[in-house]
């Protein structure tokens, strides 16, 4: 897509072009008929080296699917993903796995309960033969543990002995073991307690500085995404509806959905909550099996016009680096 030209001077690390991922799904809970569930439907964006691109949206809008399709954990239905200009496919991914990693949401499901922490972190080393000797392997594991703020004696313990925050650190250490350049962070803090979230966010920021990492940071919590991201993409029902530098997005949201999303966050400030006028969206998110025609947001949009039901709005650069897909801005 021409409109998504990379920002001047920045080196593009990852290019996502017209990515689609459809799943075959049952039509209803009791029905045996199947239909295509358009989890991600024609999404394009770039990620520059060293930046953090945030991805927000409500559950089921396709954030996880994008992250996993980029890593080729799901085969894309169509569209391409390029890493450093190289197309990711069945063959290239074998060598690219070392450069692209993922951190998961659920600190309990993402660690094998029957493996010690040392073996969990050591597994990538074994797979890619990154440690020549036993001692080297041990040293690497201890260095990784230290990097994420855990103690050497933790290596011999099992995951269930750790709290959620510590487990998330173990997951991060495992991802870092292959020395990746790019990490998909799939809601890495959503399952953690507020007091622990900040620890993990700070650690991710420090690691990015230290190791020059690039993040795709997925979350449903906008305040967290705003804090950590350089740019933010807002998704709705498999579509990217707005993409902008994070400061701009919060000061001047363009898409009605982004506005509603921003105003829906409860703020921890009683005076502000009392004075604030909220945009309350009507209704529920439609099913991605049978999305509304035209603009997918139109069924809940307070500003919907007749055209919204007819034509699908395209993502356009309305201000510098600020993209939005909405008919309100048709000239």
């Amino acid at each position: 897509m021409a409109v998504l030209e990379k920002a001047a001077g920045n080196e593009t690390l990852l290019e996502v072009e017209n990515l689609k991922k459809y799943f075959l799904a049952k039509k209803g809970m009791l029905s045996s008929q199947t239909a295509w569930l358009k989890a991600v439907d024609d999404v394009s964006f770039n990620i520059n080296k060293g930046e953090t691109l945030g991805l927000v949206g409500e559950s089921g809008c396709g954030k996880t699917t994008i992250g996993r399709t980029i890593l080729h954990l799901y085969e894309p239905t169509s569209g391409t993903v390029k890493f450093k200009g190289r197309k990711i496919d069945k063959h290239s991914i074998k060598t690219l796995r070392r450069h692209m990693q993922i951190i998961f949401q659920d600190p309990f499901a993402s660690l094998n309960p029957r493996m010690t922490v040392g073996d969990i972190i050591g597994e990538p080393l074994d797979i890619h033969n990154l440690a020549k000797t036993k001692n080297e392997r041990k040293d690497r594991i201890l260095a990784l543990l230290e990097m994420v703020g855990l103690n050497p004696e933790h290596a011999n313990r099992y995951p269930h002995e750790f709290s959620g925050g510590q487990r998330q650190r173990i997951g991060i250490a495992r991802a870092l073991a292959v020395e990746p350049e790019f990490i998909v962070c799939d809601e890495p803090i959503s399952a953690l307690d507020v007091s622990i979230q900040a620890q993990v966010i700070n650690m991710l920021e420090d690691l990015q500085q230290e190791l020059g990492l690039t993040y795709l940071f997925i979350a449903h919590d906008l305040s967290v995404v705003k804090h950590i991201s350089d740019r933010v993409g807002v998704m709705y029902l498999g579509k990217l509806v707005e993409l902008s530098p994070s400061g701009k997005l919060y000061k001047n949201p363009l898409h009605p959905y982004t506005k509603a999303l921003l105003s829906a966050i409860p703020v921890p400030d009683p005076n502000l909550s009392r004075s604030r006028k909220r945009i309350i969206l009507e209704g529920d998110i439609p099913s991605p099996i049978n999305p509304p025609s035209g603009c997918r947001f139109r069924t809940r949009c307070p500003h919907a016009k007749p055209i919204c039901a007819e034509a699908e709005p395209v993502l356009k650069e309305l201000e510098k680096d600020h993209f939005c897909a909405c008919h309100l801005f048709d000239s």
Binding site: I196, S223, S246, Y250, D269, I280, D284
Partner: protein, 338 residues
């Protein structure tokens, strides 16, 4: 107006697990006035749910209410028999849960579940009950309640289910509603709808609410007063303005500092609370927060701090407050010796 509805005194609830006694709720006391909305915050496992399940007497073995009184409308619920409790549950005290799918029975029509609840506690005919149920569904903002009432829970979306749960909970006009993380499983835009609904209902129906959540934003939106829990204990209790603008306990201020704010400057670093949550099987000897507290002092490691009354609307349990004002303890009934 300011009639005390609920008065919890030194409530202790423990779970006797094979690994040892878990003091899930360890001596908490608070009062709730009729029509008041109180919020309980704290990290997961701090005893928020257990403390309110105790009010409903819904603690199953290996758990047990060890000590304390729960005075509801002048009656001690810890002493009440099961039959009395059944007439109170759903009638005078109702509860809504985090996951509406697990609390609505999937094999019965939504309407029937509400009608049953009404019939159980009110002396009305089935027809009247049905009419009331439709009214309740309308009240909680379910469109076309006449049709919806005959549908099954799976035909409702997540937000609708939570509305139906609320309708069921409110069907007998309880004096007290306990809402245990009512929006945690919902999306932000749906959460906003439910919060708006609860605000409206709060105005329409004069009922007291205990709102349990881990989200300080929701607290600030809805509550009059806040209780902050840590490791089974109340560490601070205050009006919402005090909690947000003048927190006294290091855990409360730590929580506030660790959440990113939408209006903050970019690249402002967060200030996390270091360390890990308490292992309740193995709690610290003194102040439960001591191992994670930046201000920790020698006494904190040994003795649990008593409550210090900061003002009429605020009290906190922290030795720092004593340090600043040693006289304060007398006020709380402590006697100085020597």
């Amino acid at each position: 107006m300011n009639k005390t509805l609920l008065d919890i005194q030194n409530l202790k609830v423990s779970f006797f697990t094979p690994a040892g006694e878990v003091r899930a709720v360890d001596g908490i006391s608070y009062t709730l006035n009729a029509g008041e909305v109180i919020g309980i915050v704290g990290e997961s496992g701090s005893g928020k749910s257990v403390s309110s399940y105790a009010v409903m007497r819904l603690i199953d073995p290996p758990g047990r209410i060890k000590e304390g009184k729960i005075m509801f409308n002048g009656m001690d619920l810890t002493q009440a028999d099961e039959k009395t409790m059944q007439s109170i549950r759903g009638n005078e005290i109702s509860m809504i849960f985090q996951d509406p799918m697990t609390s609505l029975n999937p094999v019965f029509r939504v309407g029937n579940q509400i009608i049953e609840a009404i019939l159980k506690h009110q002396d009305v005919s089935r027809k009247e009950a049905r009419q009331q149920a439709i009214e309740m569904l309308r009240l909680v903002g379910i469109p076309g309640p006449e049709k919806r009432i005959d549908q099954y829970p799976h035909e409702f979306s997540g937000g609708m289910r939570q509305r139906a749960m609320i309708a069921m909970a409110l069907s007998c006009r309880p004096k007290l509603l306990i809402a245990d993380e009512p929006t945690t499983a919902l999306d932000v835009t749906i959460q906003a709808q439910i919060l708006e609904l609860m605000k409206e209902l709060k105005q329409k129906i004069n009922m007291a609410i205990i709102l349990i959540t881990h989200d300080l934003g929701i607290i600030s939106d809805l509550c009059d007063r806040v209780i902050v829990m840590y490791a089974g204990k109340i560490v601070e209790e205050a009006s919402i303005d005090d909690i947000f603008y003048n927190p006294k306990h290091p855990y409360t201020s730590g929580l506030l500092n660790s959440i990113p704010k939408l209006d903050a400057d970019e690249n402002q670093r967060l200030v996390p609370i270091e360390g890990n949550p308490v292992d309740l099987l193995n709690p610290p000897a003194g102040c439960p927060f001591a191992p994670r507290c930046k201000h920790c002092m020698r006494i904190c490691l040994k003795e649990n701090p008593p409550f210090y009354r900061v003002s009429d609307t605020q009290k906190a349990a922290c030795w720092l407050l004593y340090k600043d004002n040693p006289e304060a303890l007398e006020e709380l009934g402590c006697i100085k010796e020597g």
